[in-house]
Amino acid sequence: MVDTPFANAPLVPATNDAAPLLDVRGLSVSFGHGPAAVRLVDNVSFAVGAGERVALVGESGSGKSVTAQALMRLNPHMQVSGVVQIGGCNLVALSDKEMTAERGASIGMVFQDPMSSLDPLMTIGDQVAETLRLRGVSAAAARARALRVLDELRVDRAAERLAAYPHEFSGGMRQRVVIAMALIGEPKVLIADEPTTALDVRVQERVLDLLYSVSKERGLAVLLITHDMGIVAGFADRVMVMYAGRIIEQNDVEPLFASPRHPYTQGLLGAIPRIDQKREQLQSIPGAPPTPFTRPPGCHFNPRCAMAMEICRKDYPAMIETGSARVACHIHGGGHA
């Protein structure tokens, strides 16, 4: 291949300490009105730099997908507040029309299920090229770019298969197509909501390797949502742990795994089986996470926390920053939020 599949050079050099590409401050999401309103995501703040891969982890129902949908403003019934800054532009404040133009161009998304995230009636070539066609690129040029991106993502015999329909592709190939669709518009930020959960382990690895190298090469900021701590360890630079709609801890990947600070994170990491651990040491967190309707007062984790104190049942802990770590837990001091 002579030229690079991505026409533009990375917008920001791929370093972790550059100004963040994606800067989220005080993001809250609720559904419904009046007394029936329910807050699914509460005051979430984080940043992702160019070329940085950040993982968002947490139990089912903790609000990871809702956060992703809110960043993309995909659900018109969601009431989103806060600031989502990408390249000097606050997505939350945009009109619907302006937001439509930002999708695919500055922020892209890959969904969990590659089987159903492609239009069954449209050819692969047309779907991959769609973002470019929307921006007025000619059919021939869009097709050529689609081909190069598919080649880059190692879709075999891409030229022949542009005219094929999604059902003719395997799960792993479809997910590459989905990633190609998300990347062809050269967004600065890519959200991947459990992109490999539906794939088998080996295909999963290959798809993640591809995402990893694209992020490195292009300086793409990746927000990866996953349940799988194994994936987090291999893929991400930084980890954010979500519990009951809030981020309760975030840190670089090594320190987080080596010394998790929040009792929930400790429990979460304790719950992954490790080869170097004896069986008796495996633990899981007792109890179940609260639903958005039944969040206890104070720290939402307090009923399941072995170390809960009086204050944990009254006040939500403030986020405390020490070095690379940020944790919202009364054990680490700091008072209430």
Binding site: F111, D119, L121, V178
Partner: protein, 287 residues
């Protein structure tokens, strides 16, 4: 070695004709024959079919008149052939017209704000609650009795069911993950509707169309029977059946021929709907 390389890289051979089973070809041929009959029938038919010849009335089938003659002494078979134009093309035209209205209404309801959806759906409720034949009758009567008024009346009254069905299906299609996928790519709501949601929702109509054509054929015949549709001496099939009923006990052929034409058309279009539906799903397509 060379052979192995070749098989690995052999491109899929293109067929001259898409793959269809024998019974599917039979259906296509029948439909094509009916449509052809509708297009050229009147030009081929002898002019005698519009003139009465009482001396030869109700003649049984013979070498000269394969399906006998009617109470006016006109050749029944040729009248059926010529009548295909009025019956079939009018029905197809009506269904196409009201489907277009239905698609526009359903798209507006799905795309527009909630209140518009509410207004449109209440409107279709009212449209569905009124008996279609009576409304069409009113329209046709107001426009003056002719086949054109019949067509306009039915096109203007036929769409609510289509609109309702399509709008429900479009709402379901909107829930599919690929719709969010397309939105995440920056596809605008209008384009999303036209290039993703609508194409993935039309299946329901394709199946419905076949039944609609039969239905329309019959309502059109009823309008003719009541006197607000096709006017005599038009060889419209429904009108022929109605006219033949009074003499059915002595001259079965005057009813049997147009009756058979209606039945064959109904069956052929029913199967055509099934085949088209299967073909629309690319995973069922053979390449």
């Amino acid at each position: 070695m060379a052979a192995r390389v070749e098989t690995a890289a052999a491109p899929a051979r293109r067929r001259l004709l898409p793959y269809f089973a024998l019974h599917e070809w039979l259906v296509f041929l029948t439909v094509a024959f009916l449509v052809l009959m509708a297009l050229v029938g009147p030009a081929l038919a002898p002019s005698g079919i519009y003139r009465s010849n009482i001396l030869n009335a109700l003649a049984p089938p013979s070498a000269e008149h394969w399906f006998g003659t009617d109470d006016q002494g006109r050749d029944v078979l040729w009248r059926v052939v010529a009548g295909a134009q009025i019956s079939l093309l009018s029905s197809i035209l009506i269904v196409v017209l009201y489907s277009l209205i239905g698609v526009a209404v359903a798209t507006a309801a799905t795309l527009g704000p909630r209140w518009l959806d509410e207004v449109i759906m209440r409107g279709t409720d009212i449209g569905l609650a009124l008996p279609g034949l009576v409304v069409a009758l009113g329209f046709a009567a107001a426009l003056g009795p002719s086949i054109q008024s019949g067509i306009i009346a039915m096109a203007l009254t036929g769409w609510p069911m289509t609109a309702r069905l399509l709008r429900t299906t479009m709402r379901q299609t909107m829930e599919q993950p690929f719709v969010d996928g397309a939105r995440a790519l920056g596809v605008s709501p209008a384009r999303l509707m036209l290039t993703h949601v609508l194409p993935n929702s039309l299946d329901v109509l394709i199946v419905k169309w076949a039944g609609d054509i039969n239905n329309t054929l019959l309502i059109l015949a009823s309008l003719s029977f009541i006197g607000v549709g096709a006017q005599p001496p038009s060889p419209e099939w429904g009108a022929m059946i109605s006219a033949g009923r009074s003499t059915m006990s002595t001259a079965w052929w005057a009813v049997a021929a147009p009756g058979a034409a209606v039945a064959v058309t109904a069956i052929a279009f029913g199967f055509l709907g099934d085949i088209l539906q299967a073909r629309r799903d690319p995973s069922l397509r053979k390449r």
